[in-house]
Symmetry: C2
């Protein structure tokens, strides 16, 4: 099996590592438009060859689009244009509604499988790629009824090699749920970093006083704008809806603290503590 990966960053690079060493991919072809990233990916041997987009699509059995979702939406139709019925194309993007809509009427739509492997770190680029990134995490398959069943099966096998649990979901539902569970926590981290950087002018204080708690809460604020600007604009309506609920909750907390209302603060914390029963 030849797997072509477009975008050898955190996600694409990590896939390249595990698909190759676990034997699913005999050959990994990589496409990387950024010359520095391409040179680094080549030096790290993330792919067997760094090739052109046309070469990659022409030679690969599976084509993985692992670039920011804005660029992916633009690129996907052209890649399907180049495909025959022996190939499968997937994307790994964090929003699914727009990309699925962009190829809804494409004659080769059935060769495309929309996926979102729910794994990652706050780092990006080929230097962020690592083995075992996907192990044990969930992978969303969106709108599989629009894809060829055999193509879906091939991709299920691929993610099985990455030790991911498949979950099947409508693209619009995916975007609602990820707004709640993933996108909002990036926005809150960005806002937290902005607040602390503005108020605490002395960086040494931030370093000294940041116990593990602050570090983990602000970790996502290291995430790249290349990835997150298109996610937040593509999923605008859902994200705004969640931000508004979030602002209400913050205001409720603020009011309780302002009024020294210990009972109310305690109630809010007890309610928030329910997350303990859901997440380790």
């Amino acid at each position: 099996m030849i797997v072509g990966i477009i975008g050898l960053g955190l996600i694409g690079g990590s896939m390249a590592i595990d698909l190759k060493r676990r034997g699913f991919a005999g050959i990994v072809l990589g496409v990387e438009s950024d010359p520095v990233n391409a040179a680094a990916a080549g030096k790290m041997r993330l792919a067997d060859e760094i090739v052109s987009l046309e070469d990659c699509v022409g030679r690969s059995d599976i084509i993985v689009i692992a670039i920011p979702v804005g660029a992916a939406v633009k690129m996907l139709p052209g890649i399907l244009d180049m495909c025959d019925s022996g190939k499968v194309v997937i994307d790994t993007c964090s929003t699914k509604s727009q990309i699925v809509r962009a190829v809804h009427y494409h004659p080769m739509r059935s060769r495309y499988v929309a996926t979102h492997p729910m794994a990652g770190t706050e780092y990006s680029g080929p230097w962020a790629a690592m083995p075992n990134l996907f192990d044990g995490r969930a992978c969303i398959f969106a709108n599989t009824e629009e894809s060829d069943p055999k193509a879906v099966k091939t991709i299920e096998e691929m993610y099985d090699v990455l030790n991911m649990r498949p979950i099947y979901m409508n693209a619009d539902a995916h975007d609602v749920h990820t707004a709640y569970v993933s996108h909002i926590s990036h926005v809150t981290s960005f806002a937290l970093a902005l607040t602390v950087l503005e108020k605490e002018k002395d960086e040494k204080h931030i370093f000294d006083l940041a116990s593990g708690g602050f570090s983990s809460t602000v970790r996502l604020a290291k995430s790249s704008s290349d990835m997150w600007v298109p996610i937040l604009t593509q999923n605008r309506d859902n994200v705004l809806h969640v931000i508004d609920t979030y602002l209400e909750k913050m205001q409720e907390f603020r009011d309780a603290i302002a009024e020294y209302d210990s009972d109310k603060i305690e109630d809010l914390i007890h309610e928030a503590n329910r997350i303990k029963k859901i997440l380790r």
Copy 2:
């Protein structure tokens, strides 16, 4: 050296473990007002003996108050009443202004050293105690000019055994800085948990879709109300000030997303990314 620890929870219990096994404390005496926690701490042998408060203060060379700050403020004057000049009393609380003020005119004030070891996890109780919790972290010493220099030196030696870096600070400054760097991130986590629990009724979705990012951002929402209600009310003014700045930043983000203003979102993310240069 006999070290008496009042409150064998996460902080007190972890101190008990390391001070004993590293040889600083020949004997650790524990005081635990909650009968279940006392029984558990006894069974786990966190302390050599579980004793009464009076017994603990009477027999110990160093008395560590490691209970929520509301109770600590009430308890400290009475403990100093029982002290002679051979003993040193410290607290480990996360706010320092009120507790320092509560004993400012106490005749035994010089026997008290106000400290805040900046370490912890989101868990609490004797079952959360662990070895090496403090290694490499910062420990704030507040208003040391009000303490006897020899008492301060003894406590510096104790925290040195715990491998903590001492930092000296005025109590009021401490409360401002921890509002920025520690307290706000608990409030944002609580609000995030409340938002997600309200909007995402299906807990399985939260579990499935929570990649590492969400889990780390919401982690502090598991923190106990016993600890956090007194911190947030005692440090009310500073915390409100930081919450207000935070709400402004969230609103700025919200407006940029609402207007599909990619350039503005990108600027905000780049600015937030500066945290990368400060924290690992």
